[in-house]
Amino acid sequence: MTTTITPATGFDDPVQQSQQAFRALLDAMARPGRVTTVETEAGHPEGLSPALAAALLTLADLDTPVWLGPGFDSEAVKTWLRFHSGAPLTAKAELAVFALLDAAQMPALESFSFGTDESPERGATLLIQVPGLTGANAMIWRGPGIKDGIAMPFCGLGQSVWRQRTALSIEFPRGVDLYLGCGRDLVALPRSTAISIEGA
């Protein structure tokens, strides 16, 4: 049985909109912990944050295998992504250049490529949809891009995820880079950021 799904829309003006979205992504990556709004209007499948949708439309293509985590492995997301980016979907998380994940259903971070000491850039980029980017501060982030330490909430990600991420610091330069997206907003967490969890 085949069902035809009409893909959700993407960018109307891919050249300009992907540039605008990229600048938001770059700005966020250069300033970890700072909430950045992706202003550009991008079509997106229902349930996917427009900020993360714009990130995929901007960065994913034929050369970047994408892994869709639980909650996003729907026909609607697959059709949309294939139609607009041509990105191959991979069933193997360790091969993914990008992974689209839901904060409530996070696989272990070590499922993804961390790159190697000689080629750390091969570490994956994880796009994680979170319920919010605000809340009670529970961590301090420090590192490049952060002038003084910045206090951050857990953003709806479980403590175990934060513990895994904190433990990853000793692997540097190997690691994964995260974008946490909610609605049109996102926060980047590159591998260079050191996290201390309050009370931990």
Binding site: P14, V15, Q16, S18, Q19, Q20, F22, R23, L25, L26, D27, M29, A30, R31, T58, L59, A60, D61, L62, D63, T64, V97, T116, D117, E118, S119, P120, E121, G123, T125, G143, P144, G145, I146, K147, F172, P173, D177, P190, R191, S192
Partner: protein
């Protein structure tokens, strides 16, 4: 300004910023990884640009991947906006994007540079793109890429310390005047493109994002804002910047990198700011040097 040269419209038949979208995506992915791993050289599929390799193709590819219609672009070479290669690259982006350009450091959102960091401190939100000929800081000590990659993987930078120490033993000085090696965020040894060591301290904890593009060598690297950038030195031989015997002859600046200008064949010379915007701004504010004429808008044609 030569208006005929500077105002031609975006060239028909070419994509915005020259590169096709797939190439831009590849570059953008590389730039994001470079920012996430400060000082690490990310290999990328460099393309042939319409300007020769060695003339800024890496910086141009980075700029082309980053630039948007709302950007205000400044291009400098040797600190000056009006050097021929700066003019040529600025003209290329005007033809390919139609963005606004400026000579004023403060007004620019995106600055592409060769060999200098502007004197005017950069601010948050600005991006400085360096053109890099040889990105590998260990290259003169080890010509093989296969070896230097291993050395970076293992943070094995002893050879560089030995080289600097031998300098001191032999000359009483570290004999590196430009392209001074730095350690980024305590992890990666990095080459600051060839900037004079006078500019090296400006990289440290800079508010702007600094991106480095090496086209022929196919590497991109980055220093995010507020990142520690430490010149390699020794306790008894701390890092020092160069000084001049005189102030800028035009604006009297004592804190800027000076170009030496030979005036005659009898040893006559003067020193002037290499950063033409900085010098002009100071003169506009009434500062004078020993050889300056009263400041006039567009006095120099």
């Amino acid at each position: 300004m030569n208006q005929a040269y500077e105002t031609s419209a975006t060239l028909a038949g070419y994509n915005f910023a020259f590169l096709d979208e797939q190439t831009k995506r590849m570059l953008r992915r590389a730039i994001l990884k470079a920012v996430a791993i400060p000082g690490y050289q990310v290999p990328f599929g460099s393309r042939e640009m319409p300007l020769p390799y060695g003339w800024g193709t890496g910086g141009m590819q980075v700029t082309a991947a980053v630039i948007g219609a709302k950007d205000v672009l400044k291009v400098i070479d040797q600190g000056a906006d009006d050097t021929t290669n700066a003019v040529s690259i600025r003209h290329f982006f005007v033809r390919m994007t139609n963005v606004a350009t400026t000579e004023k450091t403060r007004e620019a959102t995106l600055i592409q540079t060769r060999h200098r960091v502007p004197e005017t401190p950069l601010s948050e939100g600005q991006i400085l793109v360096y053109q890099v000929p040889i990105p590998e800081p260990l290259r003169w000590l080890e010509p093989r890429e296969t070896e230097t990659r291993k050395m970076h993987a293992l943070s094995e930078y002893g050879v560089m310390h030995v080289k600097l120490y031998e300098d001191i033993a032999q000359h009483g000085h570290i004999s590196t005047a430009y392209d001074y090696p730095v350690l980024v965020n305590g992890r990666y040894l990095m080459r600051c493109s060839p900037i004079p060591k006078f500019d090296t301290p400006k990289l440290h904890m800079n508010a702007a994002l600094q991106l480095f593009g090496a086209g022929r060598e196919k590497r991109i690297y980055a220093v995010p804002p507020y990142t520690e950038v430490k010149p390699l030195d020794f306790e008894d031989h701390p890092f020092e910047v160069e000084r001049w015997p005189e102030d800028c002859a035009l604006c009297g600046a004592q804190d800027s990198f000076l170009d030496e200008v030979i005036l005659d064949d009898r040893g006559g010379r003067m020193f002037v700011c290499s950063d033409t915007d900085y010098c002009g701004e100071r003169r506009a504010a009434g500062h004078t040097g020993r050889m300056s004429a009263p400041y006039k808008e567009e006095a120099a044609e």
